[in-house]
Amino acid sequence: MTAEHTELDLPTAHCFPAPSRRSLLRTAAAAGGGLLLGLHLRDTDAAAPAGGETFAPNAFIRIGADGWVVLTMPYVEMGQGTYTAIPMLVAEELEVELAQVRLEHAPPDEKRYANPLLGVQATGNSNAIRGAWVPLRQAGATARAMLITAAAKRWSVDPTSCRALKGTVLHPASQRRLTYAALAADAARLPIPKDVPLKDQKDFKLIGTPAKRLDAPGKVNGSAVYGIDVLPPGVKFATLAQSPVFGGRLKSVNDAAALAVKGVRQVVRLDDAVAVVADHMGAAKKGLQALTIEWDSRRHGELTSADVAAELEIATRTPGVIAQSIGDAEAALARAAKRLDAIYQVPFLAHATMEPMNCTAHVRRDACEIWLGTQALARVQAVAAKLTGLPLDKVVVHNHLIGGGFGRRLEEDGAQRAIQIAQHVDGPVKVVWTREEDIQHDMYRPYWFDRFSTALDEKGLPVAWSHRFAGSSVTARWLPLAFKNGLDPDTTEGAIDLTYAIPNFRVEYLRVEPPGIPTAFWRSVGPSHNVFVVESFVDELAAAAEQDSVSYRLALLEKSPRAKAVLALASEKAGWGAALPSREGRGAALQFVFGSYMAQVAEVEVEKSGAVRVRRVVCVVDCGSVVNPDIVRAQIESGIMFGITAALYGEITLKDGRVQQSNFDSYQILRINEAPKVEVHIVESSEPPGGMGECGTSLIVPAIANAIFAATGKRLRKMPVEPAALKQTT
């Protein structure tokens, strides 16, 4: 065991970890002068001494006598930069430098660490900055005001004659200075003031700068600890086979050969899964391969993805729940001079996070301890309590860095599996899914089926729009309170709130849950579907009107200046309209989702074989106030690559009730040799911030489809791109 892990080995509390035992991101000066952060569980923590010396005015900030400012992170880091951007909000108002800040993951607490926009403790829906923008700055400002008051009292001066700077309070008139560390004990005894004013945006020193990511150093030297890396003392390693057909049961298993594998300790049988527990994952995998397993797959054993699509097609023949209704779309369609109809479909998609599903659990008679990376910590604690019959305060859950979330880590199925297995194991057990299990037992981006009807006026502009679609509502399962009268805010986002002015506008939704395949949130959630279908269909309208697709959109945006501005700038930066050789094309797309306006122009090349290469993407975003422009750029670049994978390759199919894809050979991910050049332009704005983690993904898919139309004249109404259909025939 390496030194890096010795601190992890310390016994941790049986109830909520006390501050002194919480997992901390340890910082230390690196050789190069940067920050080193590593996630550690520490038995004693100098930053949080016992007694009244620690100043902790709220759930997010703790300042101890040693001068460290410890920030508790209500959202978990999974690549989106939240462990840099959230500290920037606090540090700006608190007047500390990021180098003085240490981070820790929040413990499970559905109330204290609730996401203000979701009402539960969760990281998702691109809303961390949107939710934290005011409260986390307030947390910093309030703490700063208290530290100033404490200093003023000490000096017997007026607090307004003091100011805070770089973790100290100054009294310029007398040139006195006290550090926050020296003031922490006094500040802790002061009443918490209300309504402390926030800084004017023009006075920001940190917000708006490309501050370096706090999580980067540990991620380039192997010291960052993800859920899959925890090594509690005595841990065993397990891997599993779950029923290949969803809802199937374990019929029989012959484990003689598996138990004969060196290092295999035991085989655990569950109702619908088998796990092999061993001294290391190599032995567990070898043991798993040596099992002879028989499954009962009668339920859903014949299901195909075509069955799912057929059911959705039938569902959309009848009216759905009205999600949006402006004017009278039906009447306007009835008297239409020109009408355009289309059907669109999007497939099931897997998350395929680079860190395969995993969770480590130690179940004892009187307590349970869990280590994992999760986007929904309190849900994991709740499911553990339910499975073990233990009270919540006997379930300790340690959160860790996540090696890619994209919605997959909002689900507690991985923790549930680990706990079920750990209930049969003496001591802690780390359950790691093989990549094949990870892809074949994902919870998938839903399949959706859409019908459009529009009426065009004599100029070719839409006077009526009818959009009816059917598919799963993930929200109805995940956050039932948000599913009301057959609708939820996510499933329809990007469909009901277009920036285009269309006088008669109707959207209907039919919730149809597919049998035998679980669904879940997937990066860009509802818009991952809606933006593709809407922006492709708008492109179809422009083509039907024989108009340039950018000019056509601009003509519909008179009442949406921010949308108009991003589209106009994107077309300018992309060189829209300049001639391209044959079988090359540009496609534009526009969206307002997650509170951000974005336009993209994709440039593609379609080879004779039909293979599509995305060469260049120009993206303009107006996401309101920007906390860290480099993280905004990084998220857009990332979202675009994620969306290109979906557009070119992404498809999960079912045959005989089983997912047919299993690893990166059959579920392809975009590689560096296929990655386009992405150019990001950020519009300056002082509006409240919009979300950024998912926007790039939803928008690139129609931009690519529209570019392929420009290059080939083929309209793609079903994803992913099918090269055979784009093959050059002449």
Binding site: Q80, R213, G222, M354, G404, R435, A634, E637, I672
Partner: protein, 153 residues
């Protein structure tokens, strides 16, 4: 069976089956968790280490194939000149996002710049297309490799 492996300059005795992939010896037996598991089939590159300086997928490298070869992992790559340049370039260019694949990316990139001081885009594609990044940090990886190569000229 007992095997002696040389990892980051330290000799370790491990008692595992000869066909055990090096990946699991590193992670689960020796506790060197910087090397990551991604696919188990050499399709994603997350598990890349250096064996006698050559970028190698540890998930399909059996422990009995090593002989006396020297294994270097992400935990020690910063002690090599090329590794240190790559790590610095990774930080300068803010390459990482979730970071899970980056150990493997850095090991592949280090092997490239250690032997090629002028990597072209094609050479970068060749060396790096076996490493998947689900966060899509490819543009920054390309820039960082060029920076690291230039910083040695």
């Amino acid at each position: 069976m007992d095997f002696t492996v040389n990892v980051n300059g330290m000799m370790h005795n491990v008692d595992v089956d000869g066909d055990t992939p090096l990946l699991w010896v590193l992670r689960d037996v020796l506790g060197l968790t910087g090397t990551k598991f991604g696919c188990g089939m050499a399709l994603c590159g997350a598990c890349t280490v250096h064996i006698d300086g050559v970028a190698t997928r540890s998930c399909i490298t059996s422990i009995d194939s090593l002989g006396g070869a020297k294994v270097t992992t992400i935990e020690a790559i910063g002690t090599t000149p090329a590794g240190a340049r790559i790590q610095k370039a990774w930080l300068d260019r803010e390459v990482v996002q979730c970071g899970y694949c980056q150990s493997g990316q850095i090991m592949s990139a280090t092997a490239l710049v250690a032997e090629n001081s002028h990597p072209t885009d094609a050479a970068i594609d060749d060396a790096m297309s076996g490493n998947i990044c689900r966060c899509g940090t490819y543009m920054r990886i390309r820039e960082a490799i060029k920076q690291a190569a230039e910083s040695n000229r």
